[in-house]
Symmetry: C2
Subunit: 243 residues, 2 copies
């Protein structure tokens, strides 16, 4: 299983981070952190809990989701190696969502108290964390735009592109294809579509030879056409600056 290096814990797995000084490296090495392996299907973090632990994902994939009062499930995000989990429980009192492992996952676990200690020792880490939050917020904004304004085929193209991108980023793509960790139901719940319609739309994408994952490996066959379908941003947004 491809995995992120654990010496990068707890925050070194993000590309934005500034290089560590010698003193910081020393601190890093004194940092108490354990490793945890969970099976597919395990609920890593439960909605409503106030778990005192934070996790960095070292390997495997999962989904972050909410369960609604009507029993329906909304997948908020897909979780990949390098992602950071559990912060909300410390800041907001309790978790507002759950995280479930879609494949076996390896997690780096550490105590929340350790994080505040890290911030005191390395104030620049607070900046990094803020960046992570901003990036997450940006992604959630894209999701909202996709759910609100786009039809089924565009939503799927967008989701598959993003998943492929992230698989590629952790080296899980070979010969243009990577093992697809999510079920059609996960995609349906993420995109606000029914399972049936998700399936039909995937078939359409396959017919049009845009992408394929019928063999369990996700492959983007026509990147341009997919990107045309799955892009949320305008190339040149209208600009009316503050006078």
């Amino acid at each position: 299983m491809t995995r992120v290096n654990c010496t990068q814990c707890p925050l070194r797995s993000f590309p934005v981070f500034t290089p560590l000084t010698e003193a910081e490296v020393a601190f890093q090495q004194s940092f108490k952190a354990g490793e945890l392996t969970v099976k597919r299907g395990t609920t890593v973090l439960a909605e409503g809990s106030s778990s005192p632990q934070l996790y960095t994902v070292l390997a495997g994939q999962g989904v972050r989701y909410k369960t609604l009062e009507n029993g329906r499930r909304q997948v908020l995000n897909f979780v990949f190696p390098g992602d950071f989990l559990g912060l909300q429980a410390g800041l907001m009192g309790e978790m507002k969502h759950s995280v479930e492992a879609s494949t076996a996952m390896v997690l780096c676990v550490f105590d929340r108290a350790e994080l505040w200690q890290l911030f005191r020792a390395q104030p620049s880490r607070a900046y990094d964390l803020t960046w992570i939050a901003a990036a997450e917020e940006h992604f959630l904004g894209e999701t909202i735009a996709t759910l609100g304004q786009r039809d089924a085929i565009q939503r799927l193209a967008w989701a598959l592109l993003r998943i492929h991108e992230r698989l590629d980023a952790v080296g899980l793509v070979q010969d243009g294809a990577g093992s697809m960790p999510f079920r059609q139901q996960d995609l349906a719940d993420a995109l606000g579509l029914s399972l049936v319609h998700t399936n039909k739309t995937l078939s359409r994408l396959r017919e049009r030879e845009l992408c394929d994952w019928s063999d369990g490996r996700l492959r983007i066959m026509n990147l341009d056409a997919m990107a045309r379908l799955g892009t949320t941003e305008r190339e040149r947004p209208e600009r009316r600056p503050l006078m």
Copy 2:
């Protein structure tokens, strides 16, 4: 016009903040910040810009939105006094969305450099900012769940409840009603509905005597029934903690 006190700038208008020490108060007073009033319809922050300024909303309301490649608009959030704008341009390189004033707005403007200076002087403010980001993320998650899993009448109930709540929080509600700053088009763009269908659904809410804003003042007439329609959270989320 009801407004938040400007001495609370830039970050004092959030309830989570820890009390200020004497040194912090001194710093606060030396903080350079100007005040800006804009007319309804002004674009305060434009998508794609990298404005060096940050804003705290002192009075008025607005919408935060993205414009998509197909020309459609997705409202991400409604902006109220106390909200904080423009951080993304510093962290992500450029703004990923625009903010437009729905009513006249009063803003407290300061330079981004000042914010980093504030963080150095008062490290605990970094925690506050992280909390703000987490709260924002929580709200965006609720929005995603609403767009993905709920029908038109539930979406409208949810949005109206939230708007009423926030109007109330800044003292703009009297006798159970507050002036509604947004147009039906704004709600439609926020909820992923067409203008026409939004209008019809509002009529249904009015017929059922749940709420009303036909006279320009938003009033929730049957709070219980509205809350039943507009709640995204389960009372008791399923818990399967990590073994």
